[in-house]
């Protein structure tokens, strides 16, 4: 394994992919590819079971109401209608201890699968099961539901106005409990008319904010600044819009629940199901081989999966709940929109001297996460302000529940700060790349406020400056900047943006079985959500075992196959966390192979080496194939064939190892490699846009993302991640949105053609990407995740390029569309209300 000393960071240059490796850094076809291309892959909706019923949901027509009465008599009397599920039949909030021994405290503010007090329009309030969906639909239309409307608010800023309605009876703002509690309580917070006076000047009002941290000397920073900007900017609430909705099929057999749905984690979904169902984990069999996108919304499946499970139990028949596109819009989660006001001081060379950030975060109807916290942390890391204050108010609204969406908070931070940097560069006459370079984090960069011990957190490594330099070179930045900007009715501009997000976690397990058939069978509990990482990570194990990839089988997607405790495929952690686990289990496996060889052929384990599906004496001589070693391991029993288990592994892995006992040489291990800093991945993103000022229509003509993600494991997959998630960022810039009528609190845009996620023709045909491939020094394979880091850069590179083309007075919010540009370009000032929600 190549090793890197951090002190040499500045001098490090990009390394060609795959240098020093047989598998790592080389492209290959992942194990699920053929099935996906040929259509053989089976998603939850593709499963059938004998006697299967279908169920459909009834959604709340009101944004906040109390269900007073449900009369389903006429529906239940219909032929083919088998039953209904009401909110009272759904297990309620309760404390739960999982198999890890972790206590999950009941949260009375959290949602249940069916609501008797729906908090948003579209929240499921009832389910009906019948022999087919048509019967379900006809039955639903015969159900009378009496609902009492309750006060509601769909606009976070409006919710802070004096006298306005609160989203929930308990209040409208999430106020954190005093430390060490990490929970929040709802309280009613209203600002004054004086607070709102700033609104008339197009500035975000700044009333009381219950959350705050700071470090450094803010006043001095602003005092010494050559330029101080005070900018208001809003980001849009954007739904995850996974191509595969949260469809679920469930049946019960011999007291066990068999459940099929899309997820970002096979293993970690089991305790979630058990917790939501109030049942033991060992009674849950979970099947999820393929998932059509998650983006953070299906970390452990979705809460609504209990509906078919409960109906199946009640009706004693398999139940399929197909979720329609409209239903998916409502239950499919979304990224919180943030309204921000940020004051930034700059020195003459563009170095930030102080940064004062004020956020109004929209947490939606359930949960206290409005992404404001991460927004502050990422700002602090990515732009390294020497002094910073962060204030945040997280507002509850009667809108869809929010959840993590690729780079939660990070995306918003970058979208908010980058336009300010661009404006500053123009005002100071500093090149955009140069301004970012002086603010770039590097090495073990610190971030956030000081912790309880007075120390600030820091990252494992950061080579973003190199990525910026290399990216600028590859993008021909200087040449592009020098080109004419306007011709005919078109203006063009180039933009650059820094980007980053978390890049990995630690502490998961690996499980490998060397079979008597001479196969290396790798078991994994990572969810296959389409990023290929769930396979890529095992290249590290194969590399350690020096085994040809063709001999490696990956087993995933079905907990009855005894999978190990794995990370979920979210939070950009998979590549980092599971290459570590893979590394650990491969070393363990190699060691056990050597031990088996030594026991069988004589000598000491250290005398043996593992390569090409054989374990043999170093320098030639006696050896045995993996198949022979597997058979020998079975004979040896104990720790070698899984009858005993590595005591360090997680409880789930122990169960699984026991399930494989006797199958071959069974190796399991946990990742306990040292890890000092926090893992983050970084990118420099570049874009060019061309705008027609007569129509307001613009095109992204070019884009490049240059990544600092440590060792590149699978170049094609990484390219997919860099560009795919950049496109998610672009979606925020160019059009993806919500539209809600505030009078009724009803979503009016719930289909693709109205929400407008970008199409393939909305992004450049030949977007480019590259990566430094400099290994992270604090992880054995050197690789970090890249699922989320590109998102913010993908958005901000576009908006920065737009501002370069059109000037600074065009937009104060994303998305930026033809309407924004047309009206503001003529007027010479932003004409779109920066605060009004969901337009």
């Amino acid at each position: 394994m190549p090793a890197v000393e951090l002190t040499k960071a500045e001098s490090l240059k990009p390394i060609p992919f795959g240098t020093g490796y047989k598998l790592i850094g080389h492209d290959f076809s992942t194990n699920d590819l053929v099935a996906k291309v040929t259509g053989a892959s089976r998603y939850a909706e593709d499963f059938r079971a004998e006697g299967m019923l279908f169920c459909r949901l009834v959604l709340s027509p009101m944004p906040h109401a109390r269900v007073k009465r449900i009369n389903a008599d006429k529906a239940l009397a219909m032929p083919g209608v088998k039953g209904i599920l009401t909110p009272s039949e759904v297990p309620g909030h309760a404390n739960y201890v999982n198999d890890n021994g972790t206590m999950i405290k009941a949260d009375r503010f959290s949602e249940l699968a069916l609501a008797d007090e729906p908090m948003y329009q579209g929240e499921p309030i009832l389910a009906v099961a019948a022999v087919d969906e048509l019967t379900c639909a006809e039955a639903i239309e015969k159900i009378e539901i009496e609902m009492e409307p309750l006060p509601f608010n769909t606009d976070p800023l409006d919710s802070l106005r004096p006298g306005s309605a609160n989203a929930r009876e308990e209040g409208n703002v999430w106020v954190p409990n005093p430390p060490p509690s990490r929970e929040s309580q709802l309280a009613a917070v209203k600002w004054t008319d004086e607070d709102f006076a700033a609104e008339r000047e197009g500035k975000l009002p700044m009333g009381h904010a219950p959350e705050e941290w700071s470090y450094g000397d803010l006043d001095a920073g602003f005092k010494n600044a050559a330029l101080v900007l005070d900018e208001t900017f809003s980001t849009e609430d954007v739904s995850h819009q996974c191509l595969e909705p949260r469809t679920t099929m469930a049946f019960w057999q011999n007291g066990k629940l068999y459940l099929y749905t899309g997820t970002q984690s096979t293993m970690q979904t089991v305790p979630a199901i058990a917790r939501w169902m109030h049942m033991p984990e060992d009674k849950v069999v979970f099947i999820s081989e393929y998932t059509g996108g998650g983006f953070g919304s299906k970390i452990t499946g979705a809460l609504t999966l209990v509906i078919p499970a409960l109906l199946s139990k009640k009706l004693n028949a398999p139940v399929m709940m197909r979720v329609s596109r409209e239903e998916e819009h409502f239950i499919g989660r979304a990224r919180p929109g943030i309204r921000a006001r940020t004051k930034v001081g700059f020195a003459k060379d563009g170095r930030i001297t102080a940064l004062d950030m004020f956020l109004v975060s929209d947490a939606g109807s359930y949960g206290s996460n409005g992404d404001g916290g991460a927004c502050g942390q990422i700002t602090s890391l990515l732009y390294q302000p020497p002094a910073m204050r962060w204030r945040n108010i997280t507002v509850a609204t009667n809108t869809l529940p929010r959840s993590a969406q690729s780079a939660p908070g990070g995306m918003q931070a970058i979208a908010i700060i980058e336009p300010i940097l661009s404006k500053a560069a123009r005002k100071l006459g500093v090149d955009q790349v140069a301004l970012r370079r002086v603010n770039c984090p590097e090495g073990k960069a610190q971030y956030g406020p000081p912790g309880p011990g007075g120390k600030r957190a820091y990252v494992t490594s950061c080579y973003l400056k190199q990525a910026l330099d290399e990216g600028a070179k590859q993008f021909n930045w200087s040449a592009r900047v020098a080109r004419p900007k306007q011709s005919g009715t078109k203006v063009r501009g180039v933009g650059v943006a820094l980007s980053c997000y978390h890049g990995g976690t630690t502490g998961f397990d690996g499980l490998i079985v060397i079979t008597p058939e001479n196969r290396v069978r790798v078991y994994t509990g990572i969810g296959n959500l389409g990023t290929e990482a769930f396979v890529d990570v095992h290249r590290a194990a194969a590399e350690i075992l020096n085994a040809p990839w063709s001999a490696v089988d990956i087993v995933w997607g079905d907990t009855s196959k005894n999978l190990p405790y794995s990370c979920h495929s979210g939070g950009s952690q998979t590549i980092h966390a599971m290459t570590r686990a893979g590394h650990a289990v491969a070393l363990e496996c190699a060691q056990r192979l050597k031990e088996v060889a030594a026991k069988s052929l004589g000598g000491q384990p250290v005398d043996y080496e593992v390569a090409n599906l054989r374990v043999a004496r170093k320098g030639g001589g006696a050896g045995m194939s993996f198949a022979e070693a597997a058979k020998a391991a079975i004979k040896l029993g104990g720790i070698y064939d899984g009858h005993d288990v590595n005591p360090a592994v997680n409880m789930y892995t122990k169960h699984s190892v026991a399930g494989h006992a006797g199958e071959g040489l069974v190796a399991s291990a946990t990742d306990n490699y040292p890890h000092d800093g926090d893992s983050f991945s970084f990118l420099a993103c570049f874009a060019e846009v061309e705008t027609d000022v007569e129509t307001g229509k613009y095109h992204i003509t070019d884009y490049m993302g240059y990544a600092d993600v440590g060792t590149v494991i699978h170049p094609a997959a990484l390219g997919g991640q860099v560009l795919g998630r950049s496109v998610l960022g672009m979606a925020h810039a160019i059009g993806q949105k919500w539209v809600i009528d505030p009078q009724y609190g009803i979503t009016v845009a719930e289909r693709f053609y109205t929400n407008k996620p970008p199409t393939i023709l909305d992004v450049p045909v030949d977007m480019k990407w590259n990566a430094l491939n400099i290994p992270d020094p604090e992880t054995p394979v050197g690789a970090r995740g890249c699922g989320e880091p590109p998102v913010g850069g993908g958005c901000a590179a576009i908006t920065n390029a737009l501002a370069e083309a059109l000037g600074d007075n065009i937009f104060q919010r994303v998305p930026v569309n033809a309407d924004t540009i047309l009206t503001s370009y003529e007027a010479g000032r932003p004409m779109q209300n920066p605060f009004l929600a969901h337009i």
């Binding site: 027509p61 009101m62 609902m147 409307p149 009528d741 009078q743 009724y744 009803i746």
Partner: protein, 285 residues
């Protein structure tokens, strides 16, 4: 038949939308039925009146008895035109005749409203406000007429004051329907494009608006029937002098003396008994 068309509000609630348009035909049929029934009644039941007018009495009355001032007549005909426009623009599109009706409807509605406001002011301060409202004599005479119709003994009813009781009752019905369409119609203008108001349908709840549309519709179809009755009466031979008086302002002495009681409606120049107003009065003007 449902009298109301219901809609599902954005919140999934059942709210009234408007009257069932079939009520248009119910109103028309009612109007036609009234005409036929009245015509038969007049032809078969009502005895021919024999006027007993003394020459002395006649001598006190001018040949042309003034009945409606120019202002009152102008009001009537402006109101009639606007009412006719309102009915045509409201209901023809509902029976399949398509044209740009909303513009003409709200303009006619405004004209109608202004004319009614004028009428209220004019009748309150210039005309005799109480002349159109039933008084005790009307009620007493009506009772007598009913008793006599059924062959019971009752005092002979007097001749009418300025307006027959039927006319007064009709006016009352028109007042109710007219005020209902005006009040609801004015609010409804907040829901269409006019240069007068900014559109805002959120003045009231869905239910209130629904009821308002139903009331507007009910009053509207009532007006179909009422106007049919009115026009029919206006062209009946025995009522033509009254119609003519709405054009020319006067009626003949003979008709006046035949139909009206000079004690209850004194013509100009005739001594008038000082009367108390309202139902307590014995309507002598």
């Amino acid at each position: 038949m449902d009298f109301i068309t219901w809609a599902t509000s954005p919140w999934g609630r059942t709210v009234p939308e408007h009257i069932a348009w079939g009520l248009i035909w119910v109103a028309v049929l009612f109007g036609l039925f009234f005409m036929v029934a009245h015509a038969v009644y007049v032809k078969v039941v009502v005895p021919r009146k024999v006027a007993h007018i003394s020459p002395a009495e006649a001598a006190r009355v001018p040949e042309r008895v003034p009945r409606h001032s120019l202002a009152a007549r102008l009001f009537h005909w402006i109101m009639a035109i606007s009412m006719f426009t309102l009915l045509v623009t409201a209901f023809l599109p509902k029976v399949g005749v398509q044209f740009n009706w909303v513009l003409y409807h709200w303009i006619a509605g405004l004209v109608f409203t202004v004319s009614i406001i004028f009428h209220i002011v004019h009748s309150s301060f210039v005309l005799d406000f109480w002349a159109i409202w039933p008084d005790k004599t009307d009620i007493r005479d009506a009772r007598s007429r009913v008793l006599r119709f059924f062959g019971k003994a009752a005092p002979a009813p007097r001749r009418f004051a300025k307006y027959p009781l039927e006319n007064k009752l009709y006016h009352g019905a028109i007042v109710l329907a007219g005020l209902a369409v005006i009040c609801t119609g004015l609010f409804m203008m907040k829901r269409v494009e006019t240069p007068i108001f900014t559109r805002n349908p959120y003045l009231f709840s869905d239910m209130t608006w629904g009821l308002m549309y139903v009331l507007h519709g009910l009053a509207g179809v009532s007006l179909i029937g009422l106007i049919m009755m009115h026009v029919y009466m206006g062209i009946r031979p025995e009522k033509l002098p009254i119609t003519k008086s709405m054009i020319f302002g006067w009626m003949s002495r003979d008709f006046y003396l035949e139909e009206h009681d000079p004690e209850r409606w004194a013509v100009e120049g005739q001594p008038t008994a000082q009367s108390k107003r309202g139902l307590a009065a014995s309507d002598a003007d």
